[in-house]
């Protein structure tokens, strides 16, 4: 098997605090509007009338859980296939990178990616995305998001080893089906996690300060 670096995400441990997203933003000095790592809160369920007291409502199957996402460094990177300028490439260790000197800023990869990973930097006129903190990796350090998580819900390693340890789940709502691009991600689901494509909930966007 070819080497394939991958993220691990433990949805059962994640509290949705977004420290990972902030660590990423801080480390990579990302401008407003660009977030290489994002956390999505997904929830559903409803309320039913109390059988004896119809004036009261009781919660029914109400659930919410959080999913931390970044570039999945896919085994079949649609962004790299789509890029007309050969600016996106897969490194030997499986990390998908954008060469910003080659990028022409056509934003076609943005349409091709199912995870919203490549994001356009207006100021530079090129696409940018998670590079797995390649400089940290080279120094033997962990990616910023992994180290910052207070719940230890994020990890990384060889995809095969992660799968042996944690199983094969790579698509829970609200992530898209893994058939599209074979993402290099291993997920431990939350107890309420629903498989991709079979969700009954929705992404919940609460206003943030």
């Amino acid at each position: 098997m070819a080497k394939q670096l991958a993220f691990y995400f433990d949805a059962s441990a994640c509290t949705g605090c977004k420290a990972c997203a902030m660590a990423c933003k801080d480390k990579n000095n990302l401008p407003v509007g660009i977030n290489w790592r994002k956390v999505f809160d997904y929830g559903g369920g409803g309320w039913i009338q109390h059988p004896a007291h119809p004036e009261f409502m009781i919660p029914n199957n109400v659930f919410v859980y959080s999913t931390s996402t970044a570039c999945m460094h896919c085994e079949k990177p649609l962004c790299a296939e789509a890029c007309p300028a050969k600016a996106i490439f897969k490194r030997d260790d499986g990390v998908v990178l954008i060469d910003k000197d080659l990028c022409i800023g056509c934003r076609y990869c943005e349409w091709a990616c199912p995870y919203g990973a490549p994001q356009f930097n207006e100021e530079l006129g090129v696409m940018t995305k998670c590079d797995f903190c390649q400089d940290y990796l080279a120094q033997g350090q962990n990616p910023a998001c992994v180290d910052q998580c207070p719940q230890r819900a994020l990890g990384f390693g060889e995809l095969d080893e992660l799968r042996q340890m944690y199983g094969n789940i790579n698509a829970i709502e609200p992530l898209p089906s893994s058939d599209i691009s074979h993402p290099a991600i291993v997920i431990t689901p939350h107890k309420h996690s629903q498989p991709s494509g079979q969700g009954t909930g929705r992404i919940i966007k609460l206003p943030e300060v």
Binding site: L78, C83, I104, W111, G125
Partner: protein
Amino acid sequence: MLRELALIAFTILAQMSVGAFLVLGVVKFFVARKAGQEEADRMGDRSLIAIIIVLGLGMLASLWHLGNPLSAPRAVTNFATSWLSREILAGVVFAVLGLLYAVLQWFKLGPIILRNIIGWLAGLVGIVLVLCMAMVYMLPTQPAWNNLATPISFFTTTLLLGVLAMGAAYVANYAYLKKKNPGCADQQCELLRNVLRWIAVVAVILLGIEFVLIPVYLVSLATGSPQAVESAKLIAGPLGLTFLFRMILAFLGAGVFGFFLYQNAQSAGREKVLSYMAYAAFILVFVAEVLGRFIFYSSQVGITL
């Protein structure tokens, strides 16, 4: 928004020039058999200038949507996997062959058979270009685009704009000929009326294809994936009025004016009316297709986080 305008301009203008080039070739083929090569050239060759200019404007507009326009030439390097690279490559080859044909034809350089081969080759590359344009949008992450409606509608637009643009070009060319040399106009007048009748018939048929395709497409969106349903809601909701205008203008242009064009081309002596009809049909359909392409981009809801 600016980026989408650039893409609308590029796709519409490039498709129009491919369509016009193909129509020019087919008309020329039949006119040459009927009235000789010289009359055929006299009828069509001036429109080559317009076709090249339209294509050039379209390709210029495409640069506008790049974050880094100066490095545009690199966009052809990944033709092994990227349909966008293939599209640009096909566009450049079409432009070069089309320009070569226009120059050879204009100055009557080289044997006619060679010119014709280059012309048909350019037409073939033009068809490949429109196919590549459709494939660019057929991404697994874009349900509103990733279906047969994309190539069918791109080719319908290509041919509809192609025939009506050439209709306008032929009447303009006729007016020019008549002003310059009133004596020569008789045979050209006859040819013009013949061609305009065919153009009207083809335009009405293409309109029919659009009017079947669009409802089928909307139903398939409305019954498709969650993202496709969102696209259908956009077309029915915020884009509804634009959509209605697009349909009405296409019907008026290709249907109503197409019908009158056919009627008025039956007998001689109505060239003035004919030219107004041809211009009006072209302008109305052009606006309709631009609105249609605007809806195409604006109703996109991708599978993405």
